[in-house]
């Protein structure tokens, strides 16, 4: 990996998220400083300049996400102020031009306006992502109340009316398409129809977490060492259209990511749980494990948080790739196989093994040796990047024979003098 550019001082406080637009020509960044900035790439020299910036929330902003350009230039932001906001860039009108707002640059021909504020979350909103465009203008959010919320834009040109179409407690989500779907989203962790022992214990942990948060009251957001900091809340949509609306989501410190099916006709349910809790991982190092038959030990080690999940664009593959990064210091690449459709099964019912989603791990890497904070795929699902507390960004690639390998890394730490560009870990590949 090579450095190609630098924005010297992007924000006045730590940057919390950055997101490229559809074309990669603009970069939206948000920060603890409560502001959003939109950077524009000058393709002639590779530099980034601020196109617009504004104070967007009343607390730290956690994530920004761009909508598909066929819906216009639309951005959503989530914040520790428990809100999600939808922003749209519109051309300046004649009257605007005379009184350009102070934040934008003088040459700007457009401005960003707030179109909607979604206030349903009962905790800090940790992640948002617009759905793939073929499902319409939809937005998913996940917050520290462990709820996944799906919003649907009802009036597209105006972007002002968003209906919450789903609100589910990820931890108490019924799993499997055959499970009874009479649970409501309001189910508390203790009431959940527990399907596996470890999910019960995991949700108890989160329950304890929540109680602790309640005791801390409003101070949850301030100060270090609070329990929220040890959790992880993440989501990622399935980019494929074929299997309907699917989203992966992880909550708290459960060590699991759930693959959730959203259908208009019924409550959301988990089609699969990607369980990388220690009891699972410590057992063997074989590259392929089936998670369907997960049986947890009663004395399972402490679970950890999945900090980041990324669903690769499927690009016509017969399987899906989902990457997770966790506080256990591991990057995992899951291969998720959709069920074989019943009509392809020569008339058999969908209940057999072929009719279920299944996952196996095709790559598991502990190179970071410390908590992994972020995993992300490129647009073709061929390169995975991960960032960890070892101060390194690492790349992973699939090579012949379906073997995933490290493909370079970059360190944020100052290099030893004159050794700057010598690759100390090049032989890590072997």
């Amino acid at each position: 990996m090579l450095q190609t550019g630098l924005i010297p001082n992007a924000h006045n406080d730590l940057v919390t998220d950055a997101s490229y637009d559809f074309y990669g020509l603009r970069l939206a960044t948000c920060s603890l400083d409560q502001r959003i900035k939109i950077w524009q790439l000058d393709e002639t020299n590779g530099t980034w300049t601020v196109e617009d910036e504004w104070k967007a929330h009343d607390a730290a902003i956690s994530k920004v996400s761009w909508a598909h350009p066929e819906f216009g230039t639309v951005l959503a932001s989530s914040s520790f102020d428990r809100t999600v906001k939808v922003w749209e860039q519109i051309p300046l009108t004649e009257s605007d031009a005379t009184q350009v707002n102070g934040s934008g640059s003088a040459t700007s021909t457009s401005k960003w306006v707030e179109r909607a504020m979604l206030v349903d979350a009962k905790g800090t909103v940790r992640a948002i992502e617009f759905a793939p465009q073929h499902f319409g203008l939809k937005l998913a959010s996940i917050s520290s109340d462990n709820h996944l919320r799906i919003y649907d834009c009802l009036e597209q040109p105006s972007l002002t009316t968003w209906q919450m179409t789903e609100e589910v407690d990820v931890l108490s989500l019924p799993s499997g398409p055959r499970s009874n779907n009479n649970t409501t989203s309001a189910a508390t962790p203790t009431q959940q129809p527990s399907t596996t022992p470890e999910s019960a214990s995991a949700s108890l942990v989160t329950h304890a977490l929540q109680q602790q948060q309640q005791q801390q009251g409003q101070s949850v957001r301030s100060g270090s060492g609070n329990r929220e900091a040890d959790g992880g809340w993440c989501l990622s949509w399935c980019k494929d259209r074929y299997w309907g609306e699917l989203i992966s989501a992880g909550c708290g410190a459960t060590g699991v990511v759930k693959i959730i099916q959203l259908t208009p006709s019924r409550r959301p349910f988990a089609v699969l749980t990607l369980d990388s809790s220690p009891s699972q991982t410590s057992s063997s190092d074989t590259p392929s494990r089936n998670t369907q038959s997960s049986t947890a030990d009663s004395d399972a080690p402490t679970p950890f948080a999945i900090t980041s999940v990324a669903w690769a664009p499927s690009c016509g593959r017969s399987y899906h790739l989902i990457a997770t990064g966790g506080r256990d210091g591991r990057v995992r690449i899951w291969r998720v196989r959709p069920p074989v459709l019943s009509d392809e099964l020569d008339g058999e019912s969908e209940g057999d093994a072929e009719g279920k989603w299944a996952a196996s791990i095709v790559g598991e890497f502990d190179d970071h040796k410390s908590a992994v904070g972020r995993v992300e795929w490129n647009i073709t699902g061929t390169i995975l990047s991960s960032a960890g507390n070892d101060g390194r960004v690492r790349l992973w690639k699939m090579t012949a024979g379906n073997v995933w390998r490290p493909a370079g890394h970059i360190s944020v730490e100052q290099a030893e003098e004159q050794l700057a560009d010598v690759d100390m870990d090049a032989d890590a590949e072997d």
């Binding site: 990996m1 090579l2 450095q3 630098l6 924005i7 001082n9 006045n12 406080d13 730590l14 940057v15 998220d17 490229y20 559809f22 990669g24 020509l25 603890l32 400083d33 730290a60 956690s62 066929e70 216009g72 230039t73 051309p91 021909t109 597209q156 957001r221 270090s224 900091a229 664009p313 690009c315 016509g316 593959r317 017969s318 904070g373 795929w377 647009i379 073709t380 390169i383 990047s385 991960s386 960032a387 960890g388 101060g391 960004v393 790349l395 690639k397 012949a400 024979g401 379906n402 493909a407 970059i410 360190s411 944020v412 730490e413 100052q414 290099a415 030893e416 690759d423 870990d425 090049a426």
Partner: protein, 719 residues
């Protein structure tokens, strides 16, 4: 090029040894990957999300990239060789369509070999270009040595795996020697020039090594020249022997001199007999005559004879002493030791040779050569990918149709070839302006590759917005705005067509429509929606168009919609089922025409438009109030009666329906647009407005009755 290359950020985000402190202060790293070129933004972020006020720290964002984008000579190389790639794909495609294995057809193989040699020549040319010492516009991205490596590897591949038609089972020695002599020139020309300028060259220490090497390499002329010089040597034995050796060298039978291999074999055997008799002559020289005062000429001469005799052990020793490697031994083997060695015999030979003379593990080039000789194509690809993914991709692309590598997809769904071609395409993505090539390479990789190409294609920036002040690409934009396909949009559309990516084309049209809608180019927005068959999108455009009336008033509205009418016309002639949205568009256009005529003073036509919108049920009921309100001016026109009695009665009916429905709580459906047109008027004012309309209508009907204008029949004055 090595994919695992790594580095450090500059300026460093964390001082050396400061990482622990960095993490302990609640910070960590985060990244995001650009869809443009896979570049990765890296920044410090927070674990705790608590603010750190008053800190003077900087908060930079770094951009990094897995590859350097091809520039300078590399870009030319990449672009030029893509043309050959396209030709190879075409060849493979034709064979596939004809249902034949390319490797089974003489013409197919001939064509493929020609294309492979084209690759070889491009490597060569690029190597020559890079080696030139000229001032360059841009510094070289890769040095001449890099292209030399590509050249040697690719040409060795063609020598070993792409024999001329009918020669696949012919002896290969001469070809390997030619390859070696082309790429690894020994002995050096300088040494030769130097020696030939001396009176007694045998006194020079380079003389015997030069002569031996020239013999090893089959450089008959050079060997003969210096053997002839030995006629001046003080030793009469050597004078005699060298004269005996010259004809042996110049008459060394080589395969290409013979029409049939049998003749070659016979000639080789006879020649070997002559070499034996030379050896006998040599052995007769007494021990004491074997020195010339400088060194033991006899041993040197004996070495040369042993090469001709084809003594394997001697050759290995001699080559090693001269600084040669296993490749040279192999080439000599095929010329002197086993002149009838086949391609299929090489792997066994090389395996033995490499035990004694292993390849240089630090030289990828040497390692690739050894894999090629050993007949291990898939291992060659792994190593080639480390040297340069270009090499691996283009070798794999040829290896597959030659059935040298597994054709079936592996566990990941990709055949081996596709792994490398996709990996190369990924490298090309580092320069977004190479999107055409990226798409070409990806599209050659089955359905998965095509789907990946879709992702690239759909993200090619369309650059449709008119930038104030910027001149570049202005022409294309102007053309697009005049309704033609031009610039990037045209190229992308053509690429979609070429690869039959209709879904991508539609997405691009939808994005274009959205952009045009933002720019208030409603005509273009409508036609791009139609092209995408995006009827709900068309509905959004109509909504936005009507919004213009509400926001800006009738005249700007009429002006903006003027260019929608021709599009509407062509849409209606298509007769496809776009129902409701087309209807709404028709309303918008008619409504705009009405205002245009009204503004132009063409009041009678305007009046017809108004009536027609009701009669043809074009007007949505939310707009009835607006239309009736707009009718007031025409109803009160002093110059004449513009409506028939029936028209007026129709208006009254509509007005009545509004009243009735509103009384039933339907204001939402009937009055919202009118309220917005009246700029936030309250309910009372709106109802007042309706009263005014009613009064005007009542008066008009009365006038009709009194004056008899338009009569009581349905026939209006104009009918």
């Amino acid at each position: 090029m090595a994919p695992t290359a790594s580095s450090n950020l500059r300026p460093p985000l964390v001082e050396r040894g400061g990482l622990e402190k960095f993490i302990k202060s609640g910070k960590t790293l985060a990244t995001t990957i650009s869809p443009r070129d896979d570049s990765i933004a890296v920044y410090a972020t927070t674990l705790t999300h608590s603010r750190s006020p008053g800190s003077s720290e900087e908060h930079p964002i770094y951009t990094t990239s897995p590859h350097l984008a091809p520039s300078s000579e590399r870009r030319t190389f990449v672009t030029d060789t893509s043309v050959i790639f396209a030709a190879v794909r075409n060849l493979v495609q034709v064979a596939r369509e004809e249902g034949v294995q390319l490797s089974d057809t003489v013409d197919g193989m001939k064509a493929m070999t020609k294309l492979a040699l084209d690759y070889v020549n491009h490597c060569k040319e690029c190597c020559i270009y890079a080696a030139q010492e000229t001032t360059r516009h841009e510094p070289l991205q890769f040095d001449a040595d890099h292209y030399r490596k590509l050249y040697t590897c690719f040409s060795l591949f063609t020598v070993l795996y792409m024999p001329e038609s009918g020669l696949d089972d012919a002896p290969v020695g001469d070809e390997v020697m030619d390859w070696l002599n082309t790429h690894y020139i020994e002995p050096s020309t300088e040494d030769g020039d130097n020696l030939s300028s001396l009176d007694r060259p045998w006194e020079d220490e380079t003389f015997w090594p030069y002569l031996t090497r020239a013999t090893l390499r089959g450089l008959t002329k050079a060997s003969a020249f210096f053997l002839d010089v030995l006629s001046q040597h003080p030793s009469p034995d050597l004078q005699r022997l060298s004269q005996l050796l010259i004809p042996l060298l110049t008459n060394h039978p080589r395969l290409h001199q013979f029409a049939a291999e049998r003749d070659f074999a016979v000639a080789s055997r006879r020649w070997k007999d002559k070499v034996k008799s030379l050896r006998l002559e040599l052995d007769r020289v007494p021990e004491e005559d074997r020195e010339d005062g400088f060194e033991n000429w006899w041993e040197r001469f004996s070495d040369i004879v042993s090469i001709l005799e084809g003594r394997g052990e001697n050759v290995k020793r001699i080559v090693s002493e001269l600084g040669g490697d296993w490749k040279e031994v192999c080439a000599v083997w095929g010329v002197f030791i086993d002149p009838r060695i086949r391609r299929s015999d090489l792997p066994d030979l090389i395996e033995d040779l490499l035990d004694e003379l292993p390849p240089d593990p630090t030289s990828l080039e040497d390692v690739i050569h050894s894999s090629l000789f050993l007949g291990r194509p898939s291992r060659t690809l792994t190593q080639a990918a480390e040297l340069d993914i270009w090499l691996a991709a283009h070798l794999a692309d040829i290896m597959e149709p030659l059935q040298l590598i597994e054709v079936e997809p592996d566990d990941s769904g990709h055949p081996l070839r596709d792994h490398y071609v996709l990996s190369y395409a990924e490298y090309l993505r580092s320069d977004p302006s190479l999107w055409r090539l990226t798409v070409d390479y990806m599209s050659s990789c089955g359905d998965i590759g095509k789907a990946m190409a879709d992702q690239v294609l759909v993200r090619v920036p369309l650059r449709l917005r008119r930038h104030k002040g910027s001149q570049d690409a202005g022409e294309d934009i102007a053309q697009i705005h005049s309704g033609q396909l031009a610039g990037v949009l045209k190229e992308v559309a053509e690429t979609c067509f070429e690869y039959k990516r209709e879904e991508v084309r539609r997405t691009i049209c939808r994005i274009a429509a959205q952009t045009f809608m933002q720019e208030k180019e409603f005509g273009l927005a409508v036609s791009y929606c139609a092209s995408a068959e995006d009827w709900s999108g068309l509905g959004h455009v109509v909504d936005r168009v009507l919004e213009e009336y509400i926001a800006e008033g009738p005249e700007p509205f009429a002006r903006l919609v003027a260019n929608v009418a021709p599009v509407l016309h062509s849409l209606r002639s298509q007769h496809s089922a776009h129902g409701i949205f087309l209807y709404r568009l028709m309303f918008a256009v008619r409504f705009a025409e009405f205002h245009q005529r009204r503004v132009n003073g063409d009041l009678q036509e305007a009046a017809f438009d108004l009536v027609a919108m009701f009669r043809e049920d074009l007007a949505p009921r939310s707009w009835w109030g607006v239309l009736l309100s707009d009718a007031v001016e025409l109803l009160q026109h002093s110059q004449g009666m513009l409506f028939t009695n029936n028209d007026a009665v129709l208006f009254l009916h509509k007005l009545q329906e509004i009243d009735t429905r509103c009384a039933q709580g339907g204001q939402e459906d009937y009055l919202t647009v009118l309220a917005r047109v009246m700029k936030g008027a309250g309910e009372k004012q709106i109802l007042q407005r309706l009263q005014v309309i009613r009064l005007v209508l009542a008066r008009y009907v009365a006038r009709c009755g009194v004056i008899g204008v338009g009569g009581r029949s349905t026939q209006g004055i104009m009918y």
